[in-house]
């Protein structure tokens, strides 16, 4: 058999650098605890992705590696107690880097909630979103200092508190005035 070597140069679609496509937290029972989408997915694609992915990841046994191939992408996941943290990255991305983004996130959650558990994230899912937004933007790591993130989050909490107090003092004033 004789072949000539040929390589198509022009048909490769140019996709600029790689990134995290989405992050999701799934409980061992398959309940979704948090999802954040950095690439554009429609509502339908989102639920399909989560459904399929939980099937793949929840069925994997322990002591296997933390990476699975998934539709031309890779999903890096790690289980913490009853929760699976999953990050979908591109094929050429650095898997271990993503794995440590997960751990970094968990450590920040841990610091904020004080040994975080699934229940914290269920009832305070909005806080988890605030924290995630300080950690990742556009599917890229924004900040690697836990201290900086902690400071920013507590500053946000303060702002909310202050507004609350203002509101209540305002309503006090109104209440006083209308007495």
């Amino acid at each position: 058999m004789h072949y000539t070597v040929c390589k198509e140069l022009n048909s490769v679609i140019l996709s600029v650098s790689s990134q995290i496509n989405f992050v999701c937290l799934i409980s061992r029972q398959g309940k979704v605890r948090l999802t954040k989408w950095y690439s554009t997915y429609s509502q339908k694609e989102r639920s399909k992705a989560i459904r399929e992915l939980s099937g793949v990841i929840l069925s994997r046994g322990p002591k296997l590696c933390n990476f699975v191939d998934w539709k031309g992408h890779k999903v890096v996941y790690k289980r913490y107690a009853s929760l699976y943290f999953c990050i979908c990255i591109d094929e050429e991305d650095n898997e271990l880097e993503a794995l440590e983004v997960i751990h970094h996130f968990v450590e920040i959650l841990d610091r904020y909630f004080g040994s975080v558990c699934e229940l914290d994230l269920i009832f305070n899912f909005h806080k988890a979103y605030y924290i995630l937004d300080e950690l990742l933007i556009a599917g890229e790591l924004q900040e690697s200092s836990k201290r900086t993130i902690a400071k920013l989050i507590s500053a946000q909490d303060n702002l909310v508190e202050v507004a609350k107090e203002e509101a209540s003092s305002l309503s006090n004033i109104i209440a006083q005035a209308t007495k």
Binding site: T4, V12, D69, Q142
Partner: protein, 955 residues
Amino acid sequence: MALSGMRGLSVFISDVRNCQNKEQERLRVDKELGNVRTRFKNEKGLSPYEKKKYVWKMLYIYMLGYDVDFGHMEAVSLISAPKYPEKQVGYIVTACLLNENHDFLRLAINTVRNDIIGRNETFQCLALTLVGNIGGREFAESLAADVQKLLISSSCRPLVRKKAALCLLRLYRKNPDVVNVDGWADRMAQLLDERDLGVLTSSMSLLVALVSNNHEAYWSCLPKCVKTLERLARNQDIPQEYTYYGIPSPWLQVKTMRALQYFPTVEDPNTRRSLFEVLQRILMGTDVVKNVNKNNASHAVLFEALALVMHLDAEKEMMSQCVALLGKFIAVREPNIRYLGLENMTRMLMVTDVQDIIKRHQAQIITSLKDPDISIRRRALDLLYGMCDVSNAKDIVEELLQYLSSADFAMREELSLKAAILAEKFAPDLSWYVDVILQLIDKAGDFVSDDIWFRVVQFVTNNEDLQSYAAAKAREYLNKPAIHETMVKVSAYILGEYGHLLARRPGYSPKELFTIIHEKHPTVSTSTIPILLSSYAKILMHTQPPEPELQNQIWTIFNKYESCIDVEIQQRAAEYFALSRKGASLMDILAEMPKFPERQSALIRKAEDAEVDTAEQSAIKLRAQQQMSTALVVTDQRPPNGMPAQPSIGPLSLVKVPSETVDSQNPGDQGLTHPNGVVYKEDPQPPSQDIIGDLLGTLSIEGPPGAVAQSPQSATYEAEGAPSAADAAALVPVGEESGSVQPIGNINERFYALCLKDSGVLYEDPNIQIGIKAEWRAHQGRLVLFLGNKNTASLGSVQALILPPTHLKMELSLVPETIPPRAQVQCPLEVMNLRPSRDVAVLDFSYKFGPTMVNVKLRLPAVLNKFLQPITVSPEEFFPQWRSLSGPPLKLQEVVRGVRPLPLPEMANLFNTYRLTVCPGLVSVIPCVSDRFMNLLNMFLLVEVELTGVPLSLV
């Protein structure tokens, strides 16, 4: 546990958590959605607090996977709230609920812009985060310039600037044509001097995106990247909070090395030297430590360094170092490192010089092909595929073939495709290629697409030295008792075409070839019959002088198929029959097939297409293109006349990586339906259990009436799991309830009788009689329904519907709507059995007589034993096989008592009606063997009936 601070939200969340099942949850969620919807309708009365609460609830519901198709407006409108708490919720919920294509986002652009250019830092952060996460084209158009200003502004604090960098990255990545980055090289270079590591990390990500698109403009950033890397690797001046398990920001290190991989080379000797020093330090200085996170982080850096070394085409010494490291990694216990070792070794194949060193690890890589983790197995397969060349193709392909027999379904498809491609690309000689493909078909016929066997035929046709070899091989495979249908196709084709080349060898006479091919005839589906007919025609043509006996045999077959409902078969049969009577001119018409024009392998082409489809531009791939010499894809030369390559024969689903869900199927689900519609079954246990139970069951029907009632198997035909229509109650004609039309005779008895014979009455009432006549051949059957109108008036609205169980494929020809008076209509019904099952097909039949509508549901006697085919086996052959079966569920025993004494010939007759043959020469033991049950799952069924307590005189 910190509480959310919103009581209503917490209560709702606990309610959902307390739901016992999905249904309850849905009810609770629907109730809440209704509530939120009404509250939003009278928006005026909502306090900011309430509004916040409701949009959080919406997000929570959305997260649970329910559709939330309203309230987007409310979420977006919160963005323009004046106070931080509401604004924050608006931004976050909007970014989660919507994607860049939502129209509502447009409404927010102005507010977002005001927040970005405004003075409030916290508002700026919120706005940048939203745009960074979901900003689309319009955002890029109206905001990019403002975001750029923020990024380089000296008055902005780092917390705003790092967000601005990533926001800009998003806008640029999505719409590089909109975002103007002219002259940004200097700015980026400045940003790389940034002291704040948060801003530096974000800026480095931005740089990666910029250089991946156009490295030329950013040469000035290269030395700065190297400096940054040096600083990090040497841990110089890195604040404590930016070290992660003692490692200076591993993420920034990885990003920096990623950016460097987009520059084709490092020219400046000083920079190059410093870079190599750092890389050397990383390669040598990374140790395996106990702490898993530290280990992961340091190896993340190490693997990125490896990639950079590969990219830079370092000196051979350093490359060998890298391969040595990888060689170590693929043998470690830690699965992540093993996985990455294999993956990076595959990437390393791009480097020409090291391929020989990689080959030394072949044995270890083959071990990983058997790893318990499918992720690792896939990487090992990729690597073996990539490292295969002429020197090791034989070993690797044979290894893949061997693994094929035990590989999980999720991988078989990919494995067979890769083995086929490698065999074609690197075959040391063509006979080996033929061997491999035939083995492939033999072991994984279901996964071998038509393209693959077409290709073998092409090669054999075009290479004369190969023809007799291929014919001999094909003959060998046909000797096997159970072969895949694709094997029948390819063997029949090759033997028809080239079998005559071996005519002088014993066993290769035309008659013998015909017999061995025709033996497979009962097992094949309609798609193969045309190939068989052609093959017979060719054999006939090659039989010189003609052998009348063979001629008659073949003519009979042609004759039979001249009335086949399949047009292709019918036409071939008719034409071959006519042609074969033309004598000498037959030779010209059926002469040997001409050589095929040289074509690009459809297989390789499709594999290529798939690669291109999923290709993502990346540093490695860019590089792969720069280095043409290492291209792995080779192709045939295209014919000069630009003839289209092989006509496409259906979508080649092989290239797709099968989803892993198959892997996770529980063992009970092994009867998988493959996407191409072929059913395969690996586990022979459940079916054989079924069959034996079934046979014993039906046996007892012939016993005394009492035994029938007691025997649990007497209900075999009640078919557990069959459509509910099959149960006894459903068999009562609907008409009966109205008292107008009563069936004549017992429907059940008629059905049981038809299970044992092939023609008879299925149903009768005063108006109609439905008779049945059946012919069975292997897994196929042809039934004819005779619908006879007994009246002197027409029967109208005649409808016959077949409700087949999943294992049967049934096709009923058109049933006329009216049956004229005293007329009989014949409706052929084709049946194909896909796998053994005791489920029963049901005929849903209705007609109208006068004003009365009659509807009956009748079980059809297309039952299991009809598909059995007896073969004769000597006791010597029978007993070893029987003993090798280990017991339940492969072997079941059933003692039937109270059977009335039966003379042996009668007993044998009884078995014959079940299509079981009694082996001759056995006295007290009657082994019966039936075989070849269907085309895909050829299984043997062995039954041994021992007669005890039977008066000897009868034996």
